[in-house]
Amino acid sequence: MISFFKVLRRDCAALIERGQPIVLSCGFLVLASTLYPFAIGPDQVKLAQLAPGIVWVLALFLGLLHLEKLYGEDAASGALEQLAAAGVPAWWFGFTRSAAHWLMAFMPLIILSPALLIILGVKEDAVLLPVLSLLVGTPALSFIGSWGAALTLGARQSVLVVTLVVFPLMIPTLIFGVSAAAPQFGSDGAMSLCLAVTLLSAVICPIATHLSLRASLE
């Protein structure tokens, strides 16, 4: 078990030391969300209505943005094979890489999201629910995304392929996430369904990652 957590710490520490992906996430979010008022118009009421959906769509794109970095370097340097030879089971990568991906992509999003929502015209007292929905739902995007990255490891044009593969799988998370974020739909079930998708992908995606990685490590 101790070696498991060492791998987890290694994966996350490597990212934070580099820092670059986190800066990329923040830059993408700030730029992309300031484009919406220009595209839709400065109408505060309209923007506030669309804001949860906008933030969730940005979350999806943000998740796709980091996928190619998840395994590429370690596969090229042979670190993945070394770890596998040291007895780290492939399914554990499903967790460690998802955690690393979440820290790269969604931690900056969740920290920035209150500011983004307020820029987009959401009132202060309505900010909590969208942020909570991101907190509950984005881990699912990381689990699904890191599985997609493992599946397309070593593929030609892997960015294109992984986007095509992962995109339909992320739609349920988007649906439940946005519904949980928008109180006007008035359904308490949305947040629990959002959590259910996260838990389900936490179970299925590491297994699928295990199968996918085992084929590429053979």
Partner: protein, 252 residues
């Protein structure tokens, strides 16, 4: 069951059976397509509400059934390939995918053509339509995976996993989209459990469904045969180049 599968796993035996079955499938297609088209155009009345547009249904409904049916077949074949290392599994799944994708596209296209005069819109974010659209993207992703790897065994493995995860996703999609749709616009345009279909329309529909299934079966079997030949040719090429010594040919 497993004895049956092992018996079928011999590629040479499979090719023999497929060779015997395929002409009958083409014959079935020819007869049922002629009969079905005649019944659809001349042998059935226009709908009292929809007029002649109802005839689009005779292509739309068989395609929609086959879209799902072929995905199920692909998933079963992928499971057989991944779990029991059934050698024909990945061949069958790969051969079926383009056919399923084509039927999925036909379903969407004919649905849009029917929707324009009937609902006054090409596209409606209706629950069923949206899940068919997502299924189309799944098919595209599956096809892309096969193209993305030069190592065909690796591609077979990745595609198989994707097909199985896709089944889980399709179930969730169907549920979530229904839920999302009823949340946004309760008044759906599709009548659920509407008036059952008249006998005069059941016949052309059934005949066209037989035609579409025979077509799918014939194409999938032919695809499988050519895929098997391709693999054998590649294996032979590889052994030849290895015997020639050091000289390697780019395959895939």
């Amino acid at each position: 069951m497993s004895a049956f599968m092992h018996w079928f796993a011999n590629p040479a035996r499979f090719v023999r059976i497929a060779d015997a079955v395929t002409p009958w499938l083409w014959l079935t297609l020819a007869i049922s397509l002629c009969a079905g088209l005649y019944l659809a155009f001349f042998g059935s009345p226009p709908d009292y509400q929809q007029g002649d547009s109802v005839r689009i249904m005779y292509i739309h409904v068989p395609s929609a059934i086959l879209t799902t049916g072929i995905y199920g077949f692909m998933a079963a074949a992928s499971a057989a390939s991944l779990v029991w290392r059934y050698p024909l599994g990945s061949v069958a799944a790969k051969s079926a995918a383009p056919v399923g994708a084509a039927f999925c596209f036909i379903t969407l296209a004919t649905g849009a053509l029917w929707g324009r005069p009937m609902w006054g819109t090409w596209w409606e974010w209706d629950g069923r339509m949206t899940s068919v659209l997502v299924q189309f993207f799944l098919y595209l992703g599956y096809l892309a995976i096969w193209q993305a790897f030069s190592d065909q065994r690796r591609a077979a493995n990745a595609a198989g996993i994707l097909a199985l995860v896709g089944v889980i996703n399709l179930v969730i999609i169907r549920f979530s989209v229904e839920w999302w749709n009823t949340l946004h616009q309760p008044a759906s345009l599709l009548r659920r459990g509407g008036p059952s279909i008249d006998v005069s329309m059941q016949w052309p529909l059934a005949t066209m469904f037989i035609a579409a299934s025979a077509y799918a079966g014939a194409i999938i079997l032919t695809n499988m045969k050519s895929e098997l030949r391709m693999r054998r040719a590649q294996a032979q090429l590889q052994s030849m180049t290895q015997n020639a010594g050091g000289y390697r040919l780019e395959t895939g």
